[in-house]
Amino acid sequence: MKRTIAPGIVVLLAASLPLAVQADVAADVQQQCGGCHALSHDYASQDISERAQRKGPPLDYAGNKFQRDWLATWLEKPVRIRPAGIFPPARVSQGPNGDVVDPATLPAHPAVPAAQAAAIADYLMTLTPRNDLIKAETWQPGTIAERMGKMNFGKFKGCDGCHQDEPGVGGVSGPELYTAWRRLQPAFISSYIADPVAWDAHSMMPRGDSNSDAVHKLADYLKVIGEKQP
């Protein structure tokens, strides 16, 4: 009898181990990341002033947003994605020609050891409260002539007012988009372009009036430029 029970206990313990580890990582993420990143939010019911208080982007829907491998690599070696930080007005000083980003005010994201970065990325990928938005997405990643895509991105849609589509080219208040294809899930890219407010009630990105074809053209362009990145 003992012989049969003992292996059973071992199997049960082994099966519950990942859950225990995940619980540890969840607590770790709450402690290490929760100070700057929302791990749950209800921005829609909050006053607009909350937007200025954010120290980092919300992570509560990270599993609907990021590419897991990119996330793990980035946590290990973080590089700046938002040239003017999460809330640009707090990061500017007055230059002779107007507002300029003051690099001294931009906090650096701490680097995380590889094993911890992998564990955090795995945990964050389990946070998928917006599967509804992802499932509603219809974009089938395609291609577009880069020159046409760039013209659409800049001249026709004005995205370059806030975003860079190549290093140093374009506005600085939004995240750079030349690595968007590497870091974001395809469905998230298209869904967020179409309706950023559905993801974040206080998104600083305008919810435009583009139809899905126009949105998909922009998403195709981000794929084309993203695939060029090392």
């Binding site: 937007r51 003017a84 007005p89 020609n97 507002d99 980003v101 407010v197």
Partner: protein, 113 residues
């Protein structure tokens, strides 16, 4: 009689409250291009082919009606034959929010403090 005297004060108070809300919205949605000081020199301006409007320019701003300002915020620059770089904010902001922004613009451009 007392009510009649209080009415303008109440209206002024409500307008100031709207403008305060508009100022908070302006900080989130507008300063990136129009500048922290509203002078059209935000952090993105240097990268733009068309320079953002200077909201402190009394003469320029006085030439625009409140309805035009409301429309351009709600429906973007294209709606008044201006640049696509001015986005449509009607999907992010309620009509009341946009009216508050217009009140803030009026206070910024045309009320000397």
């Amino acid at each position: 009689m007392r009510t009649l005297l209080l009415l303008p004060l109440l209206l002024l108070g409500a307008m100031a409250q709207a403008a305060d809300h508009g100022e908070a919205l302006y900080q989130v949605y507008c300063v990136q291009c129009h500048g922290v000081q509203g002078n059209g020199k935000g952090v993105n301006a240097a990268h733009m082919s068309v320079q953002p409007r200077d909201h402190t320019d009394t003469q320029e701003m006085s030439a625009r009606t409140d309805e035009e300002l409301f429309k351009v915020i709600q429906q973007g620059g294209k709606s008044i034959n201006k640049s696509v770089l001015m986005p449509t904010w009607g999907g992010n902001l309620s009509d009341d929010d946009i009216r508050a922004l217009v009140a803030h613009l009026r206070r910024m451009c045309c009320t000397k403090q």
